[in-house]
């Protein structure tokens, strides 16, 4: 959460907003934001999904305990889901990968080029040419 707070200005530069969502009450969110050193740095909204409707609708609810899975959903400016990644129980997210995904999606849409694995900003995209099939 603090890791996303640390890249927040870069996300803003990419016209990207963040909504953090858990099934905690808005009151828990308030105290969390006030006393947790990592949450204190958070500039984006902490959404309370108290009735679990959001987590259920996005199919990211742990029905055993009513808590959301650790899932990152990216929604494009038209309101369509373009990426959904659920992380394991044991491991937290990678904020640089989140940044790379959004940069890669935007780069792909702007250039029409393919965005290969391990692409990072500054690297070229791949033209989609039928004559290259089998040659890359």
């Amino acid at each position: 959460m603090a890791a996303v707070a640390a890249i927040y200005s870069e996300l803003q530069d990419l016209n990207t907003e963040v909504l953090a969502i858990s099934t905690d009450s808005v009151y828990a969110h308030k105290i969390f934001k006030e006393i947790s050193p990592s949450a204190r740095q958070v500039q984006y909204p902490l959404v309370s999904d108290r009735n679990q409707l959001i987590s259920r609708a996005y199919r990211t609810i742990d029905e055993q305990n009513g808590a959301a899975f650790r899932t990152t959903v990216i929604v494009d400016p038209e309101g369509t889901i373009v990426s959904k990644i659920t992380y394991p129980r044991e491991v937290g997210r990678n904020s640089q990968e989140l940044l790379r995904l959004i940069q890669g999606i935007q780069f792909g849409r702007e250039t029409g080029l393919g965005v290969p694995g391990d692409w990072v900003p500054g690297m070229p995209g791949i033209p989609r040419r039928p004559e290259d099939i089998g040659r890359i």
């Binding site: 959460m1 996303v4 996300l11 990419l14 016209n15 990207t16 907003e17 963040v18 909504l19 953090a20 969502i21 858990s22 099934t23 905690d24 808005v26 828990a28 969110h29 308030k30 969390f32 934001k33 006030e34 947790s36 990592s38 949450a39 500039q43 909204p45 902490l46 959404v47 309370s48 999904d49 108290r50 409707l53 959001i54 987590s55 609708a57 996005y58 199919r59 990211t60 742990d62 808590a67 959301a68 899975f69 650790r70 899932t71 990152t72 959903v73 990216i74 929604v75 494009d76 400016p77 038209e78 309101g79 369509t80 889901i81 373009v82 990426s83 959904k84 937290g92 959004i102 935007q106």
Partner: protein, 63 residues
């Protein structure tokens, strides 16, 4: 879930909504803490921006 399930158990079923790639992001309005205040957040208000929905299990965990 049993580990005995095979792809045949699922492959011929209609695919339910799974809120995944290329699906419309279901709209919602919910209370949120924004800069310390309680405010309503409506996903539809974010049209025109990219949005990251950052689901996490619980406050006061390592998230």
């Amino acid at each position: 879930m049993s580990n005995d399930l095979t792809v045949e158990d699922f492959a011929n079923e209609p695919l339910p909504f799974t809120a995944t790639r290329d699906d419309p992001a279901p709209l919602f309005t919910a209370e949120a803490i924004v800069n310390g205040d309680i405010q309503q957040v409506n996903l539809e208000d974010y049209r025109g921006s990219w949005v990251v929905l950052f689901f996490y299990a619980s406050d006061f965990t390592f998230v």
